[in-house]
């Protein structure tokens, strides 16, 4: 696609429910990143993929969070048993190849999650 696409753009859920957030990166980009942006917290790294493997999962806040990527393309971030503190904007980004240190990540517009 022309840019990074994320869905849903907005999600309101009840505490304890599971949610899935989807990211469709730019075609041909092998690296994919998930970040979380909370009010007053800045951007927090969650996980990145090179192809289908995730060399760095260090940012996932708890075992309720998981992510997968299939076919080297679409990625899904799953949050189980959501808590109110999970409320944030979840941003996905992609780049041509991970580790190039060029810094040019292309970001989607994010999925805003609200947990009631």
């Amino acid at each position: 696609g022309a840019g990074v696409s994320q869905s849903p753009s907005n999600k309101v859920t009840e505490k304890g429910k599971d949610v899935e957030l989807r990211c469709d990166p730019i075609s041909g980009h092998t690296a994919l990143y998930w970040y979380r942006q909370s009010l007053g917290q800045g951007l927090e790294f969650l996980i990145y993929f090179q192809g289908n493997s995730a060399p760095d999962k260090s940012g996932l806040p708890s075992d309720r969070f998981s992510a997968e990527r299939t076919g080297g393309s679409v990625s899904t971030l799953t949050i189980q048993r959501t808590q109110q503190e999970d409320s944030a904007v979840y941003l996905c980004a992609s780049s041509l190849i991970a580790g190039m240190n060029t810094g040019e990540l292309f970001f989607g517009e994010g999925s805003r999650l609200t947990v009631l």
Partner: protein
């Protein structure tokens, strides 16, 4: 460990006056540094990047930043602010050997008054 500190959470300027957004970095080696901009309800966009070439880096929309190793700074400047510059600005460092992972500063919200 690499990190960045943005010294102001909010900066307010008048249209047509200079902009200065301050950033200090911490790195055990020569860092790759970036500024990203986020307009309201829009995705993050790369403004400019420093990757050990010229220390004065020019970006889009008239912004530039100067890498000063002696001061461990990478401040963002623009000679004359425009209303459309109102946005959140993030200073960012890239973590070497960790897949290009970016570490973001806390952000500086720039307001531009008419």
């Amino acid at each position: 460990a690499q990190s960045v500190t943005q010294l102001d959470s909010h900066v307010s300027v008048s249209e047509g006056t200079p902009v200065l957004l301050r950033c200090n970095y911490s790195s055990s080696y020569s860092p790759s540094l970036f500024w990203y901009v986020q307009h309201p309800n829009k995705g993050l966009q790369l403004l400019l990047k420093y990757t050990s070439a010229a220390t004065l880096v020019k970006g889009i929309n008239g912004f530039e930043a100067e890498f000063k190793k002696s001061e461990t700074s990478f401040h963002l400047t623009k000679p004359s602010a425009h209303m459309s510059d109102a946005a959140e600005y993030f200073c960012v460092v890239s973590v070497r050997d960790q897949g290009g992972k970016l570490i973001f500063g806390q952000g500086t919200e720039l307001s531009v008054k008419p």
